[in-house]
Symmetry: C2
Subunit: 205 residues, 2 copies
């Protein structure tokens, strides 16, 4: 009676999960083009036919993977602008939030696969990065609010937001994506975050 397991449920669900997990792993390791359905089936310990019974094509499977990984990230509490608290404190909180995302292995996997696959598929790349853009809105919104409250001196919150993010991503995103470097340790994160915020405020505050 396998119904007792809380995680597994029906066989068909377990198989499906195994396929998705194997596919994530393979796509992450080898990218879209060089990953074969046979390898995915083998890693999932599943018949190739079963893979095709669940997913009609490699393309669809890949899309589902992207969707699946996207779900895994979903959680994201906003930091709203507060007039009664120091800018530095609030910005550091915003950055810390960003670091939580950047340290999330699921996010990095998603980004790597998406960028690797999308680099020669403009429409998919466009779509993915637009979605990621939504994540970054939080910071822009905060900057706009602070500027409206007269505490930041910028006419272009989007630009300023990109600048601050550039100060972070140059250390904590692009090297990890393009060079598979490990995430920054706590000390490095602190240095990057504080230095970025201080530089940002030195200019805009």
């Amino acid at each position: 009676m396998p119904s007792s397991s809380a995680t597994s449920q029906r066989l068909t669900d377990r198989k499906r999960r195994a396929i998705i997990e194997a596919a994530i792993e393979e796509f992450r390791l080898s990218g879209y083009e060089t990953t074969s359905m046979d390898r995915i089936a083998a890693r999932a310990a599943v018949s190739k036919r079963t893979v095709y019974n669940h997913f009609p094509s490699k393309e669809v499977l890949f899309a589902q993977i992207l969707h699946h990984l996207w779900q895994a990230i979903a959680g994201g509490e906003e930091v709203v602008y507060r007039h009664d608290r120091p800018l530095r404190e609030q910005l550091l909180e915003l950055i810390a939030q960003k670091f939580r995302l950047l340290n999330d292995e699921a996010f990095v996997s998603l980004a790597r696969v998406a960028i690797a696959a999308g680099i020669h598929s403009p429409e998919r790349a466009q779509q993915m990065v637009e979605r990621m853009g939504e994540r970054e809105e939080g910071l822009t919104v905060w900057i706009r609010a602070a500027a409206a409250a007269g505490r930041l001196n910028t006419k272009d919150p989007v630009f300023a937001s990109h600048q601050l993010q550039g100060l972070i991503k140059g250390f904590a995103f692009w090297p990890q994506i393009t060079l598979a470097q490990p995430p920054l340790d706590a000390a490095a994160q602190k240095q990057v975050a504080e230095s970025a915020v201080d530089m940002f405020l030195a200019y805009y505050a």
Copy 2:
């Protein structure tokens, strides 16, 4: 008597050039994996056998392409630190130099192909980006000199250099690489450069 042409020289050289140009185009369009030697041969208007007479394998051809593109970039005059000139002026010159590289289509092509191909080939990626790192030394050296002269307040020139580059690349490199966006126009370049330098100096000067 085709010897009259200044650019073409011997037939074998013309053929070789055609192959390289076609290969660059194809690799840039489709990446390493999905580009076939047949397509390269077709685009070069050359027999497939001729391709293999010039280059023993796809792998070698690809390596030559990378080398070839690297050569095409080579030129790069250094800006040395001058104690008698304003920091802002010198930094803007440094950034302008970086923009010349970022606007160079050959460089962007190289970077895209290399990153796309290298994203799942750690050793090649490592090698490429180390080479690119050499290019960036100029800025770091300048910052170190300025700090030694007591005009910049940093203990970590490499870190500071990465920060300044983050402020540039977030606008003028990564979007172009990962999203195939067009290079920044002159006005945008000016805004990005001046804002970056001013922010940098507001913090470190």
